[in-house]
């Protein structure tokens, strides 16, 4: 079986007369929309704002760490910087990044639906996100918060007089926004698949979003409860986490990580979905081991709930419970390895081209492999003693979250940009951005692994002078990385007006979203498609294209 791919002639492509972008005009038509595509755009704009805000804090942190002495900002300011960087990046960027923007836009179309199951709840979820953002920014403007993004008690409840409750309120509300998105995705995947779209015909992007949605719906309420307890403890001193009142300060960490470890998978799983789509499209080949990749997403979601105490190996949990959690941590590493190998095997006997999304996907595979394998270091009990709470852990989760997730997000934004806007981004510049991001990333975070093994603790405003060389390298890398992120921001905006017109299927991809016009009409499908082929069936696509050509001719 073989497939010959012929890319359509893009010079002939024109923008459709009517699309979701020009069906209605005015601010009100955007702010009161129920259209999942418009809500995705609203999310895209808001999370980009918070990404650059969080990024600015990261820049200041790196600038301060250029020298061993605490000289750029005061210690309290430094603590506020990394706290706000963490809160904004985790809760206002990474958690909603792929699901709320790309997922919102393409998930219903991929399933052959006209919208998500609950359009109004979808809009509500964006408003909640904005309220959460307002609370977070208020906490910032009022003077900041310096608990660290983990809100660790009793520091957060008894020892700080910053705006802990305001910030916690922001995170609490952002949680509901994420619950609503997850709920919408679950119901849509169950109930709104087009005729013939069976569970094993849905694209892997949907499988990974489904798994992430389950985590969102089941995990986030625990975070909400935990933050309420922190607020009550702070306001009324109820004593749940206070040892002098018979409470247990470790209980907070159990509750917090019960959400925040699955949250790591909430963040990475949608990114993995993007990678599956991109790798398949640019190899012109079905993803190797579709079922294995689909079930590994579910396995990650299930195991993800039972590994939280690996954040607490040195905190005096019983040695035997540490043993169990270490074992489960090793098990959760396996599905990720399965995915990586399946993606690599997809390339075998493909017909590979190297467009920008593919470059980002390759970047993802390299960086996520490093991030994942260093996770095994930290999951191994004895090694964790030396490495935890140092820069090794900072490097590890940035490799997974930034090297993995942000690369996947950028791969996805570039991949679906022609569908979302109807226009292409500039190819040469975007390839440059992908390479710059990759180099900048390695330079920023690789030295931090070495710093970590040398013992440099995380969240340190000042450090012993012998660590300076590696810190200078890291800061230099951060500068390069910053340019790598600014570039897409600039040329994407430019392409809105000046980009080449994309046509409905510039990549010759098989997903249902590529079979409709770009940008799609408000109702997505004029008539609901009947699906009679597997996902990633390039032969079906070739036949269809040929058929269209003959009809037209």
């Amino acid at each position: 079986m073989s497939t010959i791919v012929r890319l359509p002639n893009q010079q002939d492509a024109t923008l459709p007369k009517r699309s979701y972008l020009n069906s209605e005009y005015g601010l009100k038509s955007w702010l009161l929309t129920g259209d999942h595509k418009r809500i995705a755009i609203l999310y895209l704009i808001s999370i980009t704002f918070f990404f650059f805000l969080g990024g600015a804090f990261a820049g200041l942190i790196r600038l301060e760490l250029l020298t061993p002495m605490p000289d750029l900002v005061a210690s309290d300011t430094y603590n506020k910087l990394f706290t706000m960087h963490g809160i904004i990046m985790v809760f206002l960027f990474l958690v909603p990044s792929v699901p709320a923007t790309i997922g919102n836009f393409v998930l219903p179309i991929m399933l052959g639906a006209r919208d998500l199951a609950f359009p109004k709840i979808n809009l509500l979820s964006w408003y909640l996100y904005i309220v959460a953002g307002i609370f977070t920014v208020s906490a910032l403007v009022l003077g900041g918060v310096d608990t660290g993004w983990t809100f660790t008690t009793p520091l957060s409840t008894h020892y700080l007089n910053t705006h802990v409750i305001t910030a916690a309120m922001g995170v609490f509300i952002a949680g509901f926004s994420s619950i609503f998105t997850g709920l919408n995705f679950i119901v849509t995947t169950h109930r709104m698949r087009a005729p013939g779209m069976t569970w094993f015909r849905i694209p892997l992007f949907v499988w990974s979003h489904y798994a992430a949605s389950i985590l969102m719906v089941l995990g986030t309420p625990v975070l909400a409860i935990t933050l309420v307890l922190v607020a009550l403890e702070r306001l009324f001193g109820i004593g749940v986490f206070d040892p002098s009142k018979g409470g247990d300060p470790l209980l907070f960490q159990h509750l917090f990580w019960f959400y925040s470890h699955p949250a790591v998978y909430i963040m990475i799983l949608p990114g993995m979905g993007v990678i599956s789509e991109v790798i398949s499209t640019f190899s012109r080949k079905r993803v190797f081991g579709y079922t294995a990749v689909a079930f590994s997403s579910v396995a990650i979601a299930v195991f993800g709930f039972f590994v939280w105490a690996h954040h607490m190996f040195i905190m005096g949990v019983s040695n035997y419970s540490a043993l169990v959690f270490s074992l489960l941590t090793m098990l959760v590493a396996v599905p990720s390895a399965i995915k990586i190998f399946n993606w690599a095997a997809t390339l075998y006997k493909g017909s590979i081209t190297f467009e920008t999304p593919m470059l980002y996907a390759f970047g993802f595979m390299g960086l996520f492999t490093i991030g994942g394998l260093t996770g095994v270091f930290l999951g191994s009990l004895g090694m964790d003693i030396h490495l935890t709470e140092t820069y090794f852990i900072v490097a590890h989760f940035h490799f997974v979250m930034v090297g993995g997730m942000l690369m996947a997000y950028l791969a996805g934004v570039h991949f679906w940009w022609p569908k979302i806007t109807g226009r292409m981004y500039p190819e040469g510049l975007s390839k440059l951005a992908a390479v710059v991001t990759f180099i900048g990333f390695i330079l920023t975070f690789f030295p931090q692994f070495i710093l970590g093994y040398l013992g440099m603790p995380r969240r340190y405003h000042a450090y012993p002078p012998e660590f300076q060389v590696l810190n200078v390298l890291s800061t230099a890398g951060a500068t390069v990385l910053g340019i790598g992120y600014l570039l897409p921001m600039i040329y994407m905006t430019w392409s809105l007006k000046y980009g080449a017109i994309a046509g409905s299927n510039p990549w010759q991809a098989t997903g249902l979203e590529w079979q409709i016009q770009s940008p799609p009409p408000t109702e997505n499908f004029l008539e609901i498609p009947v699906v009679d082929h597997e996902a990633y069936d390039y032969e079906w696509l070739a036949n269809k294209t040929q058929h269209e050509v003959t009809t037209v001719g």
Binding site: F288, L327, M330, K349, P457, R458, H461
Partner: protein, 378 residues
């Protein structure tokens, strides 16, 4: 070097002279930790090279120019099984290796010398059994097992010595322990690694590992005249502990001589080992540490004794193997601490108390709250 910026030049010199990939290997556990680290690095490298080779080779071999037609492949159960089982097996090796190290680092040998550490915002206080106090420093002898019993007075801290490859969270309201055996004399970094507020990065200090002779000299030269146990004894008397814990047959509180590391039965039938944590907890929350056979009449000392005071008391009770000194402080109103030095060669009441064989039934306290059921035969 006129074409070179001096800053960059300095940077390069620094890079060449100070560049290190590993902290000093200064404890008995460090070589084992580093060996495991190399193993983990090795499997990471193999994994990364494997993925890199697959992606690289396939990208070159099957690029569109070379392979214009993709071949449809469904998947392969054999390959799926291979890349499930091999990583799983490697991860299991890591798990077992890591667990062995963990149990070694967190299970102190019984004969280790014990030093107390109190963490507070933002300093480390070390208390040696002989009464020597140190701030943001810890002097230890090399080639000797040292156990640290640590507690925080406020928030979570974490006691980390990278050169020894050990670290442990220092928790408010609970003792945690870690041990090490220094092998190289020298001065090493001590870091607080758990974010603890404003001056977190200033909560650092020096670990000074000294040859045994130097250590003895240092200990002799830094004594404050009072050992922890002596301080504890004074505190024990001034708080009036001895009025109930007198060790006499009719005492209202349990006999404390020899109680340390023995098995005690709690109200409700649970048996626990009376370790440091139990002793501290009994002083602060007597009701949750109520020993069977005694009335719950002890008040809480929460907020009345500092963590340092508690350490003194615990250290005193730990070393208590007879009740002579308690009797002496009870009877002698002119008790002077200087007398408290050597332990008396008096008979040990421990065995009597535990078996209850010699306790007289009529010596029971006649308080109405007494439950009157205990280890003593009626």
């Amino acid at each position: 070097m006129h074409f070179f910026s001096p800053v960059l030049w300095q940077f390069l010199v620094k890079w060449l002279t100070e560049f290190a990939l590993f902290p000093p290997q200064a404890s008995a556990i460090a070589p084992y930790m580093d060996a495991f680290y190399f193993f983990l690095l090795l499997i990471s490298l193999v994994g990364l090279v494997l993925v890199g080779l697959m992606v690289g080779t396939f990208s070159i071999m099957f690029r569109k120019e070379k392979n214009p037609q993709a071949t449809h492949i469904e998947g392969s159960t054999l390959l799926e099984a291979t890349w499930t089982i091999i990583p799983l097996a490697l991860f299991m090796v890591c798990f077992v290796w890591g667990a062995l190290l963990y149990f070694r680092i967190y299970n102190p040998p019984t004969n280790a010398m014990n030093i107390y550490i109190v963490g507070k915002q933002w300093m480390w206080k070390a208390e040696h059994p002989g009464g020597q106090h140190e701030i943001n420093a810890l002097h230890i002898p090399v080639d000797r097992d040292v156990q640290l019993t640590m507690i925080s007075q406020d928030v979570f801290h974490s006691f980390s010595i990278p050169a020894f490859r050990v670290k442990r969270e220092v928790i408010p309201g609970r003792y945690s322990t870690v041990w090490f055996r220094a092998t190289q004399a020298g001065t090493y970094h001590l870091f607080c690694t758990q974010y603890c507020g404003t001056l977190h990065s200033a909560m650092i200090g020096d670990i000074v590992a000294m040859p045994p002779d130097d250590y003895r000299k240092w200990i002799a030269g830094s004594t404050s005249g009072q050992s922890l146990a002596q301080n504890g004894e004074r505190l024990f008397a001034s708080l009036g502990c001895n009025s109930c814990h007198s060790g006499t047959s009719g005492a209202r509180g349990p006999n404390l001589a020899g109680i340390y590391r023995s098995k005690v039965t709690l109200e409700g039938g649970r048996t626990v080992t009376a370790d440091d944590e139990f002793l501290r907890g009994s002083i602060l929350n007597p009701t949750t540490h109520q020993m069977a056979g005694y009335a719950p009449i002890m008040p809480t000392y929460q907020g009345q004794v500092s963590e340092e005071g508690l350490i003194d008391l615990v250290e005193y009770i730990k070393g208590l193997d007879s009740n002579d000194r308690i009797h002496q402080t009870l009877n002698d109103s002119n008790f002077s601490p200087s007398q408290a030095g050597a332990t008396g060669a008096a008979p040990n009441y421990r065995s009597e108390q535990l078996t209850g064989a010699k306790q007289l039934p009529d010596a029971k306290p006649d308080t109405s709250t007494s439950k009157g059921m205990g280890p003593s035969p009626q």
